[in-house]
Amino acid sequence: MFDLSAIIIVQDTLRASGIKQILKSSFGIDARIIHSAIVNEIAECDIIFADEYNCMAFLDLLIPRKNRTVIITNIDNDSYISWQHINCYDNENTIVETIAAILKKLSQTNMPQMELSAREIEVLRLVAQGFTNKEIADNLSISINTVLSHRKNITAKLGIKSVSGLCVYAMMNGILA
């Protein structure tokens, strides 16, 4: 059993109910089904289950929380290979095993400390694209000192200092295509 809060953002009722039932019966998690991604709810919950449509629709909200987002796919493609995902055509045992592995990993990791804010994600994206601090400041209409402060926080949260390293992290996490 896992002491985690979960929300489900899925377009259709049957998939939403199916995931909710599996989470309850196999893991004792009372997940809430919501129909639109609300910043506060997403920020406060431990794990998010989203379908491909909602993943695309709320990408900016989900990318910073990629490590605690699970994409529910119904087609075999590589678009979500870097995300944690479950395939709704798999049999129930496989789905339960996949979710169990994700929950185990999540419960062993202290995610909130390394979670980037939306602004930090924007700065990271621009750093990874090779913009200078001055260009980032102009682009985001903030001062260079604020850019430096964001960069310092990004490095502290991720443990990554070099621009190349930040670029790789951004690609690993879908921040940079």
Binding site: N67, D78, I81, S82, Q84, M114, L158, G159, I160, K161, S162, S164, G165, V168, Y169, M171, M172, N173
Partner: protein
């Protein structure tokens, strides 16, 4: 901090810190050391015992760095050691990481794209490290040896050589980032044993470079600057 002394058995030194084997290789000492003491081994291999001891102690104790003792040795002794170390990186550590990394990616069952990105990052670090080693060998070390032999070379050192001795931690930062990406951010499925093999090899490289940099930047660089002075006075 207990320092290694010349009457200690080399086998005991290895058993207390097995990673020191990688340093012994640079002095042409390999496993199967028997029960010889450090002094006996140095006599057999015709090594400078004091220099060998300083290197062993510097490698095994992060807090230990006897700058004054190091400066008792001539530049050539230090450069010979740094060359051996660089060769060890080029011919053992880097190929070892590379081959394990390739195997790790091959054995990854679900095309783990994160591993491929990390591998590309490693190749960037490798390329920069090789460039630095080449500049050290071809420019910096050669220059120091020629200055040290009282050869008055009126040519100014190239910009590349000067850059090479600056205390630049860009490569070290990237290696550190690589380790952190494995430890903190790796996701997806992978072969655990191979992944640990890659990670440990990178961590060993990181430790080794860090120890090596202290000798390169704190001992060799001041020698270089000292040697340059009279040379420039002569120009």
């Amino acid at each position: 901090m207990v320092l290694i002394d010349k009457d200690k058995k080399l086998s005991d030194v290895i058993l207390e810190d097995p990673s020191i084997v990688t340093v012994l290789n640079r002095f042409n000492i390999f496993l199967g050391v028997g029960d010889k003491t450090i002094r006996q081994m140095c006599n057999e291999k015709k090594l400078n015992t004091d220099f060998f001891l300083i290197i062993l102690n510097t490698f095994s104790n992060e807090e230990y760095f006897p700058e004054k003792l190091f400066k008792n040795f001539d530049a050539k002794t230090i450069i010979d050691y740094l060359n051996c170390t660089n060769n060890y990186y080029l011919h053992f550590i880097i190929p070892n990481i590379e081959s394990h990394f390739n195997l790790l990616i091959k054995r990854s069952t679900d095309n783990n794209t994160n591993l491929e990105l990390l591998y590309k990052f490693f190749l960037e670090v490798k390329s920069e490290l090789i460039n630095r080693i080449k500049t050290d060998s071809n420019e910096l070390f050669t220059k120091i040896i020629s200055l040290n032999s009282n050869f008055i070379d009126t040519n100014e050192p190239s910009d590349e050589a000067l850059r090479s001795i600056s205390v630049d931690n860009a490569i070290e930062d990237k290696i550190n980032d690589l380790v952190n990406m494995f430890v903190i951010h790796l996701s997806g499925n992978y072969d655990t044993n191979l992944c640990l093999a890659v990670l440990f090899a990178i961590i060993n490289l990181k430790k080794d470079i860090c120890q090596n940099n202290r000798i390169r930047n704190k001992i060799l660089m001041p020698i270089y600057q000292y040697l340059l002075k009279p040379n420039q006075d002569n120009v």
